[in-house]
Amino acid sequence: MLSPVILIPAVLNGLLTGAVYALVALGLTLIYGVLHIINFAHGALLTAALFAAFFAHQLLGLDPYLAAVALTPLFFALGYALQRFVIGPAAHGEDRNILLVTLGIAVVIENALLYAFRADTRTLNLAYAFEVLDLGVALVAVPRALAFLSVLVVALLLWLVLSFTDTGKAIRAVAKEKLGAELSGIDVAHIYAVTFGLGTACLAVAACLLIPTYYVNPHVGNAFVLIAFTIVVLGGMGSVVGALVGGLLIGVVESLCGLYLGESLGQIGIFAIFILVLLLRPSGLFGERA
């Protein structure tokens, strides 16, 4: 049962899936770290991004990896506009209201997609989707390996932006001390929107990396968002490193639970971690005290 012939590929696969989870969680944790809100629309926005990537290929013939170049700025703009013109003004600065507004947006996006495209599950047929790399100990699908590497690149880029650009410094300043940042002339509403935009842009990248080997339907984001919540809580709300480590960890846990418990009960493993972390250590592994 614990034979390495099964175990090593399972762990490896878990790591590859986990990388994409990490990217989704990265967007969520970034938004939480700066705005201190949980974005309940994250999953629905991921679903929207998956549909966008799907139709970019179906209608425009764009390869998903090329589509990422166009969709990432598009989703950045979408996220920016959502925070600046909908969530920010609607919430009147109350955290409870933000919860409700993002939940409302999630319900609207998810069901508008359901209305437009029905509950059908769609997949792309790409020539390279089934190509595999032989790593000696295991076979790895090329698109998934590519996704893993891309996530590392995106995480690095994000870190560079946050560390060295003026906007990045402003984001970190707002995250640490909102009032102080405002007093030093930082436009907080703008920074909030930029952060939300970055978080949403992460979803566009994640969607383009997922679509070659995954499927899309109006509810697909839900599966990811609860996993992303788990990762964010496990890694520590607002911690970028936590999101990466948590993502990989959860990927492996899911893969192993699926192996030993079967597909649907495998999900329970993730929820069990989620609830346990929330109850026992809400600040997570890398987070500051909640």
């Binding site: 507004v101 069901n111 209305y115 649907s264 929330l278 109850l279």
Partner: protein, 329 residues
Amino acid sequence: MRQASIAHILLVVAALAIVPLLTASNVVLNFLIVALMIALVGQGWNVLGGYGGQYSFGHAAFFGTGAYVTAILQTRYGVNAWAAFALGIAGGALVGGAIGALAFRSGLRGSYFALVTLAFAEVLRIVASVVPITGAGVGILITLDLRAQAFQFQSRAPFFWIILALVAVSLVIVRLIEQSRFGAWLLAVRENEDAAKALGVDAARVKLAAMTISAAITAAAGGFYAQYFLFVDSGIAYGPWISIEALLAPIVGGIGTVLGPLIGALAVRTLGEITKLAIGDAPGLDLVVYGSMLVLVVAFAPQGIASLLAELRARLTRWRASAPERTNA
């Protein structure tokens, strides 16, 4: 609207109670039964969310438990339907108490509380879709037995009066809470938990009590659902739809008010029906409307419809009063 007295409540209930005498239309009655059921779910949410300030995103956990316990006890253990219904309420309260004890003992607040309630509801949904006792993916069909002692009726009118009576009881309970010392503690916790604690309020206990009452009320709606539709599955019982309806009704109607959930449920359901008539019945459309409503109400009428109407009236009087000045200018 600030304070609905018991007399107000009785008046509203009496006005609704005569509806089946005026119309035998199944469409009208069915609409009202479902709206009242949502009002009950929403009233449950309102106790914890409206008065206690703890926003749950997983009230499906209690609705579903009420529905499943009612259905399972009848179909698998031959328990009388009314007894099963009562035990369903108790089961919901138990689940609410258990989740509340875990969450509040760990000091979860705000977003964290919303997340953990959501997670518990999802765990229950997944478990219910797998284990045999809940009928797994197939669900449970309650055997048709059209007798009053089996909590089943030939016509819709008795169902209407039963759900109306349940709603009336919930209204009175909430009204009594509002006036009680417990209600004052609950409001204190909502407004400022740390300050409430400093004044000697046992915040965790007050929240736990609110959550148990909240869950019991919502579970009653779940049990009623099972008897009315005679079918329960994991997507209906523990699905996210009911968690959304639960918070939408009180927020739209007026959060933290006695009649808010009832007004909200009627408004939301009416809007849903109008959408169906206007655009046709399509999956997802009603929820698009609900979601937009949630955002719009939070944005423009944070105190709900009732206060919005009051505000409009006040503005109109002010506008009328200032009319002479305007003509002079």
